[in-house]
Symmetry: C2
Subunit: 549 residues, 2 copies
């Protein structure tokens, strides 16, 4: 029998999940709350709403209509926040250009997105000049300038942002449209090929906002983002909408502080002056902040940080906690809007305990509506024993539905009806997720998956080990087997042997910490290991060196 | 130009907002969390999930299919929670029968809903017997029994709930369907005519759950509902899904405690034994709890209460706070799923201050996605000056789209594209909503609205006044004018005159607290005022007595 539907009164409002609707609350109860951009701009939510209207009017006057794409190249600013709202609210699509890509990649993404209008910060004008003749769809440029009027703008530009807003009238008549309309798009880079386009609809961004709000606000006590916080993003706004948190902050009606280009000392000063209590960043930024001169002797207590993008190292987490920071991990990626999980410490857990440190570093628990599975190569769930690895696959209402213009990669992404993260993880008996590896680095041995990171971590517990790398080597019987490469600590350089490591791992196998099939087929003591330009182990080059050794 | 839509990979999962999806989180991270029913039942979320599957199998075996309506008559129980999930998850519609209505009204609602199957608690068997021959759509009955097997069941019944579950197999294959499918229906009673049917879809209930979770979890510190709370409803589960909070509690994965029939002493004992920290109720229940013998000398500290249904009196709020309870108001009604707003105290506000007391008693601020307006008779917004009254109208993604089978009332409900609450309120300059009156009690004087409750409250501030009632009297010039009826305190019985009240109000008008047009046309000192059976002022009878006086 079919399901039934409600009767609908003729004038009943069929409420579409549009970004515009996130503003009702904050404009009602926080019209005087502040939005701050460095030391350049400070205004209220009420002004913010007026500026959104003016921006839409200005863009409209420049020919932008629903369905058009507008590209932005800016540091984290109030302008970017205005674009987060005004552009999708017009029915247009916001492209957040990743300014850290190479010039050729940036060119590719803007052309591939078919953006018609480009808002570009003065800092990126030299870059823009190298691209301008090859931009195939851009027909209008607007300058973003922190000192409007101070310097001249290129004559080809339609205007400067603040001047355009000042010349625009209010209100813009924002109308309702299909909640599945595209709102944002940006590009994610893989190891090979061109950047891939992901995109998100109004419905997806609104649902992501509600779910993240619920998950981040409902933590037992610390490790939270709530109505009394002061917010400052420290993941760039061009990167997965700064993890979607500017939308959450706006819905909460909290004070928001935008730091511009990331300069550790300036960020620390701004944090102190504006009394920022909640930020989010990748581990590298956290480390930069802790090591910045301005951090020495300054009081960092009560500053909460969601950490994502890559694993939060135990040492860094501990150093941050020692300084009074409240750090906790979350997990997701460009394709997932991004949040899938957030770490959760048990209420009443001793903050100085090892359990606590482990809990807050984990990917953690799914946020509302996320269906998470860890599966083997045949999409069967692996046991939740905290030991068996598998690929993390997910469903949620806010995952990109495809890679734009790449049906082959899209088919792989959604194989079997779940989004494939290409991350390898395990689920502990308590249900929490721990991310272990990238799928490409996993060793597939006789139907079992061996996580290289897990094995590296266990080998590193031997007192003689400075660094360990584990890669796959081909094996006729098992398909692949693990090869462990070990760099000894200076004081162990002469005496560390393969047997030390083997005995160490066998003890761990007896204790049940590691499966027998995960024991390396070969262990080699080496002087050093190949690293990438940012200092990570370069598994690709390591594999090449040892593949046939 | 039309908006654009995302490409969609062939196998990409188009995630419908179904109640089923609220379970992913808690089943992943809280499988061992407890659900408790009085001293009768205690099991884990993992068991809960299995029982949902068994219930669906059992109902299916009894002929229930998607599109069917299943009616429930029970006290607050684990069974009811299972029905909240299993019945909608099958694509069927859950009718929560209001067991407090008259027998004739109950009969009307079950027949009007066209329910096919009735789950009925043993306590309601005598009532059921008086209705059975006139139930036009029910063809199957199931007994709900707190002591299964203890007594025999009527032979016409298909079985007893626990026995049916025990005999059913797992799993039930829950499938996806349209998120706009009806999930629940129930009836709301007005002052005249038959009860009116409201109904809610899966999408509406999921969105209400996320928005309530975000709003209730994100409060600055106290006045919240979070992951470390223990939940016990004290608004009946037949009434607007116990304000939707069992869905929120389940999504949070918290311990849940169901109290059965409300008996103050038993509730207080259960609360203590199970360490309940969060409940919600109408003011009357709160008062009953505070006055119960078991409350004397028992430690109530740390018990949080959302109060709704009617205004939270200052005296009751103060008494509750004196006992260490953490009370805060919320606002909504049957037609709105129900939550529209929640009170919000400013961070750092002194809990013993009058401001604090006033803040937490207010309807407060809209929860995410709620668009709230206070309008005059022509749907124009009234000024947000904390003084000008208007009707509260709303949009949100979870409002009933009509009254079932009553197109005339539905048209009135949604006149102008906003849901009309028929409540009169005012918005303070800080954006918070204060509910003042029912629309039918407002005095419409020369285009201005005068709130009877506001005027009564101001008159009551005179030391000589015990009770005041304000009603409309017809006026040739103004349409209506206020008539104030005042019962003096015993010690003022002889000396209180009309002039005392007039002077008192004129002072308030000079201070700007009250508008000049709100001054009563007439003031009468009376010995007593008509009251309803539950002790409320009976405005209808008061109007009748004084209409032509």
């Amino acid at each position: 029998m079919p399901v039934r539907f409600a009767e609908v009164a003729a004038e009943a409002y069929r409420y579409p999940l549009l970004i515009r609707h996130l503003l009702h609350g904050p404009l009602a109860f926080a019209p005087n709350q502040e939005i701050v951009y460095r030391d350049r701009m400070r205004y209220t939510y009420a002004t913010f709403a007026r500026r959104i209207n003016r921006l839409a009017r200005a863009l409209s006057r420049l020919g932008i209509d629903s369905g058009d794409t507008v590209a932005v190249m800016d540091w984290d600013s109030h302008r970017y926040l205005e674009c987060y709202f005004a552009i999708p609210m017009m029915g247009a699509v916001l492209q957040t250009v990743n300014v850290r890509l190479s010039a050729e990649q940036i060119l590719y993404t803007i052309n591939h997105a078919g953006a018609r209008l480009l808002l570009v910060h003065r800092d990126f004008l030299p870059l823009y000049e190298t691209l301008r003749d090859r931009l195939t769809s851009i027909d209008t440029m607007v300058l973003l300038d922190d000192r409007p009027g101070a310097e001249s703008r290129p004559t080809s530009f339609a205007g400067e942002y603040e001047a355009l807003l000042a010349g625009a009238e209010e209100p813009f008549e924002f109308t309702d449209f299909d909640e599945n309309a595209l709102a944002t798009t940006f590009y994610t880079t893989g190891t090979t090929g061109n950047p891939k386009a992901v995109s998100f609809s109004h419905r997806q961004l609104v649902l992501h906002t509600l779910a993240v709000l619920g998950a981040f606000a409902s933590a037992a006590d610390r490790q939270s983002f709530r109505a009394n916080d002061v917010y400052m993003p420290l993941t760039p706004m061009f990167h997965v909408h700064a993890w979607g948190l500017p939308y959450v902050a706006t819905a909460l009606g909290v004070k928001q502080v935008y730091p511009g280009r990331y300069e550790p000392n300036a960020i620390l000063e701004l944090r102190q002056r504006e009394r920022v209590t909640y930020s989010h960043c990748v581990p590298t930024i956290l480390q930069m902040l802790l090591e910045a001169p301005a951090a020495v002797g300054s009081d960092l207590r009560g500053w909460k940080f969601t950490i994502g993008g890559s694993a939060l190292p135990a040492g860094l987490a501990q150093r941050a906690m020692d300084r009074g920071l409240d750090v906790f991990a979350a997990y997701g990626m460009s394709e997932t809007c991004p949040v899938l999980t957030v770490s959760r410490v048990a209420p009443g857990e001793d903050p100085s305990s090892a359990t606590h440190l482990r809990s807050l570093r984990k990917a953690g628990i799914p946020i509302p509506l996320v269906e998470l599975r860890v599966v083997d190569g045949s999409m069967r769930d692996v046991p939740q024993d905290g030991r068996t690895c598998g690929e993390i696959v997910a469903r949620a209402p806010w995952l990109t539905m495809a890679y734009g213009g790449d049906s082959e990669a899209s088919t792989r992404l959604w194989h079997g009806g779940f989004l494939h993260t290409q991350d390898v993880g395990l689920i502990a008996p308590d249900g929490s997720l721990d991310v272990q590896d990238r799928l490409k680095d996993v060793i597939k041995s006789g139907g079992e998956w061996i996580c290289s990171l897990q094995l590296e971590d266990l080998i590193s517990r031997h007192p003689g080990v400075a660094v360990a790398a584990v890669v796959a080597i081909p094996d006729e019987t098992w398909g692949e087997r693990p090869l462990a490469l070990v760099v000894p600590r200076p004081e162990w350089r002469i005496r560390l042997t393969e047997s030390h490591i083997k005995d160490h791992l066998q003890r761990l196998a007896q204790e049940g910490v590691i499966a027998r099939y995960a024991m390396p087929a070969r262990i080699e003591i080496v002087d050093e290991l190949e690293r990438t330009s940012v200092g990570k182990l370069d598994k690709k080059r390591i594999r090449e060196r040892f593949h046939h050794a």
